[in-house]
Amino acid sequence: MTQHWAHVAVSYALAALAFGGLGLGAWMRHRAARRRLAVLDPRASAARDGSGGDGTA
């Protein structure tokens, strides 16, 4: 592998890691919040998941 390809590979790897990390972090926060809300406010959580209602106003 030439030095140039190494720089290209590191650039793409950094982008993949950064976006992957951001996406994973957002997904984990979202999942944790969803679970906690289901415990605290089951009626509104059910409404948010599909059948209408306004649980978070």
Binding site: V8, A18, L22, G23, R29, A33, R36, G55, T56, A57
Partner: protein, 267 residues
């Protein structure tokens, strides 16, 4: 004789009414339902477009006659630069919306946008450095373009830190919004730095008046990658904002429960 309109008693100190489309999503429940429908499609579109764009950029686009394979860094570096600047414009618009119309979700959106903007700007700087070393012979120079992008990075970081620095979220949001609006002055400096000063960084080759100074074999994969990264950026920010809205609801519910329990325990 014309009737004289009655004088309204007292000045109206309320915030101006926001446009209807903005007002619709002021309701967090409606925002959660709408964003819950959009987010899976946005994520799938980002993954699909990035898969095509990155394969095109890495395997199908030609090497540059001078730079060789190193030119492939452009397909990551340039979209990150566009997102860093475009995202900051979005931050300023959200901040103005929060300050002028007191839109309840604009603060949360800005708060969740700034860490993503900081990461994207850091990627722009890092990939630029990785591109600069083999081409310019140095990782970094203090020229106008690189320095103004570094300032943009610090503005993103500053906003992220400032909005989280106060015990009262409203005060942090207000301070962050003011910083975001002041920082907008840096955007034209970043954009035109290569024209106003003599820089090592090359001048604009895509976003310039007249035709882009780039062959379509490189321009098309660049535009596809830019679209893919923009969709991914939007998906991440939307997912973070959704999580933040839910977390705010959790805090409100826990506070209400604690007050109830406290009230019940008091004789």
């Amino acid at each position: 004789m014309d009737a004289i309109p009655p004088i309204t008693a007292g000045a109206d100190t309320r915030a101006p009414r926001p446009p209807r489309s903005l007002h619709r999503f002021a309701n967090p429940g409606r925002f959660l339902r709408a964003s819950g429908r959009v987010l899976p499609w946005l994520t799938a579109a980002a993954i699909a477009v990035l898969a095509v764009g990155l394969a095109w950029a890495l395997a199908l686009s030609p090497p540059d006659w001078q730079q060789g394979e190193t030119v492939r860094i452009m397909y990551v570096h340039v979209p990150m630069a566009w997102l860093a600047m475009g995202g900051y414009l979005g931050l300023a618009l959200a901040s103005a919306t929060a300050l002028v119309w007191r839109h309840p979700l604009a603060d949360l959106f800005a708060r969740e946008l700034s860490p993503v903007g900081a990461v994207v700007t850091a990627l722009c700087l890092a990939t630029g450095s990785l591109w600069g070393k083999p081409m310019w012979g140095t990782w970094w120079v203090w020229d106008a373009r690189l320095t103004s992008v570094l300032v943009l990075f610090f503005l993103w970081l500053g906003h992220a830190a400032l909005t989280r620095a106060f015990d009262e979220p409203d005060r942090g949001a207000r301070a962050g919004a003011i910083l975001a609006l002041i920082g907008v002055v840096n955007l034209p400096i970043v954009k035109f730095s290569v024209d106003w000063w003599n820089t090592l960084h090359q001048p604009a080759s895509v976003t310039r008046l007249g035709a882009p100074a780039m062959h379509v074999d490189m321009l098309y994969p660049l535009l596809v990658c830019a679209l893919g990264f923009t969709l991914a950026f939007a998906a991440v920010v939307l997912a973070r904002t959704r999580a933040a809205v839910m977390e705010r609801r959790i805090r409100a519910l826990e506070l209400a429960r604690a007050r109830r329990e406290d009230g019940g325990a008091t004789p």
